[in-house]
Amino acid sequence: MSSKRTAGAVVIGGGAVGTAVACYLAMDGVDVTLVERGEFAWGTSRRCEGHVVTYDTPPGDYSVFCKTGQELFYEAQKFLPVDFDFTPEGIGLLVDDESHLETVKANYEGKKKEGFDVTLWDRDELRHREPNIGDNVLACLNFNNDCTLNPMRLCFGLAKHAEANGATILPRTRVTNLRMENGRVSGVETDKGLIATKNVILSSGVWTPQMGAMLGVNIPIRPRQGHIIVTERVKGLLGKAYVEYGYLLTKHGLKRENVTPDMDKFGVAFVIEPSSAGTVLIGSSRRFVGMDIRPHPAVMRAVAERGNQFFPTLSDMRILRCYAGVRPATTDELPIISTTHVPGLFVGAGHEGLGISLSLITGKIMSELVRGQAPFIDTSYMSIDRFGFNPPALPAGEASV
């Protein structure tokens, strides 16, 4: 890219969110350019598990939002040009603590009222379905429409489909500065040249605050690290993906019984996903250690130990590798899907542990915002304004990679 370019809108970031935003904008006829400093997907979207979920929101507006977002995957699966290992087999929420049963049952009733396809398995039913399950697990609440997918393939598919619909896709292009003229966005400077545009969408995950700072807009997002262990290939270990109920507690920073001090310290909660290749992904942890994405042995050990409590057979299996990623976290667990006080600057970021799940709905809404339409579903509570006018930036953390 040497000559000067122009675009109707520029999306910064080629993760699940950015590629989805570019895809919907292109499908809606906007002349959009997507810039990614690396390849697809370069950031957190290649360091996660691919659950598209509704299990982790209590009944309410946000729960319905997640459900609506999930339905888009059933559609996208039909039109995306890449097979993204879409597995609509449901995800089970495992309960191993007597004291959580009441809350889980209330959750079940509430979700049912909202029209979710949920079922509750008692201990016997669970053992019948999953012979390898640990003796301590008491029940399982199944979210039958939850699904799993391969996030990298999803990003590829979205970028390709955006391109097929007229988008310009620029990998290996790093944004170095943003420009403003007459009080509104006017262009994006990159290491390969300038792109003149009146609309910029920041979907740069944990790097979004850096982008906002270029125009003096503070975006309160910080990196929250998580680990994943990948096992050798096996079959017959388990039938579908599961999460422990304690996952919801660690997400909200609440104390749990039944866990070791390390599990508590590292925010370890059990998540398991069989991949189509036969390997099994086991997670995960939650802690604030800056941009550090080096897997830490003590965290891996705690994740593995927690896994063994739910599926003791895991201790017979070998680990192939481990990786860590940093989730783009806000302070209230909700993403920022919003205009800003700078005309032409939009933010679609801060999805924490739900960036894959909410990628498509974020793309759809962002396209509506950019085109000046009211979103098809209420997103007012996801506005950046909820943090106050230009809120103080969050500390980025210690190490930087």
Binding site: N132, E232, R233, K235, G236, L237, A277, G278, D316, R318
Partner: protein
């Protein structure tokens, strides 16, 4: 692709590959024995393609085989032993409870 660099020095041992006796040398890895052109491959991938030992140093996991009844063993890190039973792996081993080796 791979060539043996030195002439034979070790003691001859017999291992069983897919039930058939194979003569090899002490000090060889199972992967090296399997690389003999008449055997060639060690496992199938999830798409069903044949895979053979590649990195020879425990990194790529292309050489997974069932050795003496234990599945998913890295043949490149396992030395041949007289009487060893080596089987190719067709797909992934089954960890279903009833079948698991406990």
């Amino acid at each position: 692709m791979f060539k043996k660099v030195s002439a034979s020095k070790g003691k001859i041992v017999t291992i069983y590959f897919e039930g058939q006796p194979v003569q090899t040398e002490e000090g060889m890895t199972v992967a090296a024995a399997v690389l003999d052109p008449s055997h060639g491959w060690s496992r199938t991938s999830h798409g069903g393609q044949k895979r053979g030992p590649y990195c020879q140093m425990g990194v790529c996991h292309e050489c997974l085989m069932t050795i003496d009844g234990i599945p998913n063993q890295q043949a490149c890190l396992t030395m041949v032993v007289e009487g060893m039973q080596v089987y190719r792996q067709d797909g992934a081993p089954d960890f279903h409870k009833e079948n698991s080796h406990e």
